[in-house]
Amino acid sequence: METTLAAQIVYQRPQSLTEAAMHYCPGCTHGIAHRLIAEVMDEMSIRERAIGVAPVGCSVFAYNYFDCDFVEAAHGRAPAMATGIKRLLPDRVVFTYQGDGDLASIGMGEIVHAAGRGENISVFFINNAIYGMTSGQMAPTTLPGQKTTSSPRGRDVETMGYPLRMAELLSNLDGAGYVVRRSLHDPKNIRMAKKAIRLAFETQLRGLGFSMVELLSTCSTNWGLSPLESLKWLEEHMIPYYPIGDFKVAEALKEIKV
């Protein structure tokens, strides 16, 4: 007797992503971060009421890849723009997607005050310790000693200061409801990152204030490493300086199981 098994789809493009081919370099983790956010949007059925705010940086074209309404901010101003949208449309799900130059350098004022106000927006912060789009300059998150095109002999903390730990910094503000750091360098951490993205949106839906997931990410092109070496470099150099962890989790979130 013959049995036929019905074909079952076990993996496919999330509905919240468009079919556009991404422009990111080989080895870059932006694609993973995009996909995780889109998967969570699907699971929570929030695509139709989501409004994204894209940054200036490599992810400047993020709006080409998400199948939801989007606006494109000026460099660093995404949290202010998201604030304007959220204040006018409080029942929409508003999120920003920002890199380290955007969020931690030129946009420091906007992100700190959005967190301080407890603005009900979700922020996905891609920390790859370098400026990607302008091809490899020092970022506020560049590690001590790390060589970039604008710190060619390595970041000298005596003259260039120390890297900023944004998750820790923002978690100290009363307006923050959920602030964590995750990494995208291996499957276990990617799964943890997805849960955090879910909790960030849950924070917003429950009106618990500002939420941010910092995602440690790679930049093979500007680090001058192969994709595999990049994942290793992230693990060996970034995680010791930027520990993975929960820095602020509102009480009401602790009961949620995802």
Partner: protein
Amino acid sequence: MAKELLKGNIAMAEAAIRAGLEGYFGYPITPQTELLEWMAERMPALGRAFLQAESEVAAINMLYGAACTGARVMTSSSSPGISLMMEGISYIAGTEVPVVIIDVVRGGPGLGNIAPSQGDYDQIVHGGGHGDYHPIVLAPASVQEAIDLVVLAFDLAEKYRTIVFVMADGNIGQMMEPAELPPMRPIKSEYPDWAVRGAMGRERRILSSIYIDPKDEEVTNYRLMQVWNQIQANEVRYREYFLDDAEYVVIGFGTAGRIALSAARMARAEGIKVGLLRPITLSPFPAPQIESLVSRVKGILVVEMNAGQMLNDVQKVVKGRVPVEFYGRMGGMVPFPDEILAEMRRMSQEVIPLDGDPRQRWMKRFAPVIHWNN
């Protein structure tokens, strides 16, 4: 509605609310702050969005986001704050979303002072932000006109998907006058087909000022210029006084125009046939109206509370065909009618050259007047 004694800043704020304002974002700065304070009281009470931003940079970007929802939104500031907003202003222009910005102009450059000035003419009318864009700029000369122009500003902003400035000098913001507010309009119930409000049952929408392919950016720039041509053809506004038989015409806007009107009346009483053209839209500039005066008058006097920023635009129209003179006060100083009257008398008595630089002549005449030792 009956007339009430109203302060300019508060009158403009309430006029915006009654025009259906849904969101206000601002930052305190003198001499504009009462406007923000009025919004702080009124907007939340009406269930509308009010937020004091952490800076003018944040305020303009909050406004940018809010404008993308298609709602009626506004900010207000004063000169140094407007300078800070220029980044966002260029982005808003590039994204073609409607906003209203009130600038209660103060003395500059730099920190300057908090006295009335018209020193923002160039930074608003001729750009400030990067790229090719032209906002509509409305200049009220009284509290009543400020009210009326704020209401008009929202209609024009939405009609052309453009930025509309109400450029009020510090006098207009701080002065109290009897004026009548408009009736309360309801908040709009329908939003335009470009508004980003969530892709519920429709294709997603994207609002951006990026056109990464220069060919596309050129098309966008061309379209912006086409809209600007329409605005120039249809939206020029001005007031004229005693122009029918005028031999000399004064051109001044806002408070300077209003003071020039007093001076023109005094000149008329002395038998000097002076008329006044008061531009209400500084952008689009009433160039056709000035052109029509060139063949009719013996001379033109431009009066401003700056060093002759509008003068350049007048000269561009006149092209040396009739004598142009300039009189300005700067740095927060306001002219008295007597000063302008003296210029009118002088023009009617002296032979004013067609060539030469009216600004240089003014500086020479003006040097003894300045309070050098105070």
